[in-house]
């Protein structure tokens, strides 16, 4: 029953701290602040909860990112994971979801080799708050050739061979059984993340974090970074600003209501 779990997390710019540099057309470095992608907190928490529900395995955190991304791995330690791994190499820069999911799959294989264990479950978040694609989880499952389910809102049951999960659909809930090893992408509804403990914070401070480059994970150079990416960003722009609108006045609440309804009618929204 114990599960060895890898949770994939990413350090991303905080939503709202990102803008375009009008000179270069690139993302402006000014005012940008980084943190763990907000969705990833739920993935991390689920990894910790599953370890508590089915003790005996290890819950590990894995990220790919710049040197500064080490911060989120320390945060994962503070919350209670048993080990962290940092895929960090300039050769990874510019990876799209195709290359990223490949690199993560190689990282997971390397963790198995390094720790002499089999990973039973990989947990990703539904998406990140920067790319917003939600493609890396399913793509990673394809590289690993594991079954996967996205939009998971509950892990109901875990046996030696499978997991029973609930998937949030637009019209209700699908219940699926998925054989181990498997990958799930989780939504916010799945849990409420804990805060790091004091003891955890101490451990996080002291931890030495392994950093693996492309050759450590035996990555095929043709599949990583810009060279390995298939989708390129041709152009970035700021979305058109919304023009400030009309204030609906009116002496009484009834008058305001009438103007509101008239406006909707004018715009053919009724």
């Amino acid at each position: 029953m114990p599960l060895n779990i890898v949770v994939c997390i990413k350090q991303t710019p905080a939503t709202g701290s990102v803008s375009i540099d009008p000179q270069t057309g690139d993302i402006s470095k000014e005012g940008i602040s980084y943190a763990i992608s907000p969705f990833d907190e739920y993935a991390l928490e689920e990894g910790l909860r599953l370890k508590e529900r089915f003790p005996g395995g290890a819950t590990l955190a894995l990220t790919m990112g710049a040197v500064r991304a080490e911060e989120i791995l320390r945060e994962a330690i503070a919350r209670g994971v048993d080990g962290v791994y940092h895929l960090c190499d300039e050769a990874f820069d510019g990876s799209d979801t195709f290359a990223t999911s490949y690199i993560l799959s190689q990282g997971i294989r390397k963790i198995e080799e390094e720790r002499k264990i089999k990973i039973d479950l990989v947990i990703c978040a539904k998406q990140t708050n920067d790319g917003d694609t939600g493609q890396v989880g399913p793509g990673l499952a394809a590289w690993l050739d594991w079954p996967n389910t996205a939009y998971v809102k509950k892990v109901e049951q875990v046996t030696d061979t499978l997991l029973r999960v609930h998937r949030m659909m637009e019209d209700g809930t699908d219940i699926l059984e998925i054989q181990r090893p498997a990958l799930i992408s989780v939504v916010k509804e799945i849990n409420e993340p804990r805060l790091p403990s004091l003891k955890g914070k101490m451990a996080a401070k002291k931890a030495v974090i392994p950093r693996w480059g492309a050759s450590d994970i035996k990555a095929d150079p043709a599949l990583i970074g810009l060279k390995g990416s298939l989708v390129e960003i041709a152009k970035r722009q700021s979305p058109p600003k919304r023009a400030g609108g009309l204030k609906i006045g009116g002496a009484t609440i009834e008058e305001k209501a009438k103007i509101f309804v008239d406006k909707l009618r004018e715009l053919k929204l009724l």
Binding site: P38, T133, Q179, E189
Partner: protein
């Protein structure tokens, strides 16, 4: 990475979603988007349906613009299982070699696109809000697909190109493209694809579906949404929000603050950790408009803000701002709407 012969790939595919015996209307939006591209490239427009009992839908999608319909119809494909659908789709792609695949940016479409892209060793981009084929005059080779999508919570619009692998895979945000018009005189070819999922080594088993108990409209496909936020002050506030939603035939949305307070289930949450919507009308009741919420609804066509605080961000960006106590304003508005209906 690419050592593919890209020129061998031709045809535009729109992948539809059939769930519980219903064809999701997103296919008609995708047929608009894909139809433009097929016309610009002079290529065939096809629809792919995966599921069970698909026959009834062929006529509809042909009338809506498909030249060809691929049916992957099998009793064991009735429910969406990532592995099974990805296998069915990628086998057909490998056999037919289309230029591009368009799927809805729904739970199913987004799950399927991510897995299928890696299986096909091709690139995918999610949640497009704009799409065109380059004319050859703006620095891109003629016929290059220019796919635009919001990222960083809607703060940046990125235009993506894939010149390196085929088929290109894209998911398209619902409610962005208009539905393609029907023409009952249109004809098309139906291709029945035989599959044997028993031989696929599937490791996922569908167990059950639990329908949503209410008959509420889902925010993902709603063209009008009425949302409640912290300003409601209490769970009962959603009864007031619902009354306005009902009068407008709108879905009910919520801010994270309202969801985290336990006033309404998570599936109603709009914003960065919730869902992204783009309705024609978004009415924000007591939603102050934090960046995280705006990321999920900032592209709505018309935004109405009802709030006591005229200085909050939502009031500043709304198309119409109404400074009022929502518990006074909403009943008055509902009354006025009922007058309009009778």
């Amino acid at each position: 990475m690419s050592n593919q012969d890209l020129s061998a790939y031709s045809g535009i595919w729109c992948v539809g979603e059939v769930r519980h015996g219903k064809l999701a209307p997103t296919i008609f939006e995708i047929l608009t988007a894909g139809g433009q591209i097929a016309a610009a490239l002079g290529q065939k427009l096809s629809v792919v349906l995966i599921g069970s009992g698909l026959g009834p839908w062929t006529k509809e999608v042909i009338e809506a613009g498909a030249d060809q319909v691929y049916l992957i119809d099998h009793s064991s494909l009735e429910q969406f299982v990532d592995e099974a659908y990805a296998k069915a789709l990628t086998d057909l792609v490998n056999q037919e070699k289309p230029r591009a695949l368009f799927l809805p940016a729904s739970t199913i479409g987004r799950s399927l696109a991510g897995r299928a892209a890696v299986m096909l060793k091709t690139g995918a981009a999610a949640d497009l809000t704009d799409l065109s084929a380059a004319s050859g005059s703006n620095g891109f080779e003629k016929g290059t697909l220019l796919a635009t999508r919001p990222s960083y919570g809607g703060n940046i619009l990125a235009t993506l190109v894939n010149t390196r692998s085929r088929p290109e895979i894209y998911t398209i945000r619902p409610m962005v493209f208009p539905r393609s018009p029907k023409d009952s005189t249109r004809t098309g070819v139906v291709r029945n694809i035989t599959v044997d999922p028993a031989t696929w080594n599937l490791r996922t088993k569908f167990i059950a579906f639990q329908a949503e108990s209410s008959n509420e409209i889902d925010i993902g496909s709603a063209d009008k949404i009425v949302s409640g936020g912290r300003g409601l002050g209490k769970a009962e506030g959603f009864e007031t929000v619902r009354s306005l939603a009902k009068a407008l035939s709108a879905a009910v949305g919520a801010s994270r603050a309202a969801v985290d307070s336990g006033w309404i289930p998570y599936k109603h949450q709009v914003g960065i950790t919730g869902r992204t919507v783009r309705p024609k009308l978004y009415v924000a009741c007591g939603v102050s408009g934090q960046v995280q919420h705006l990321a999920g609804m900032g592209q709505s066509e018309v935004i109405v803000a009802i709030n006591k605080d005229p200085e909050c961000p939502m009031m500043k960006l709304a198309s119409f701002s109404i400074e009022a106590d929502l518990y006074e304003f909403i009943p008055a508005a509902v009354k006025e709407l009922q007058k309009h209906q009778s």
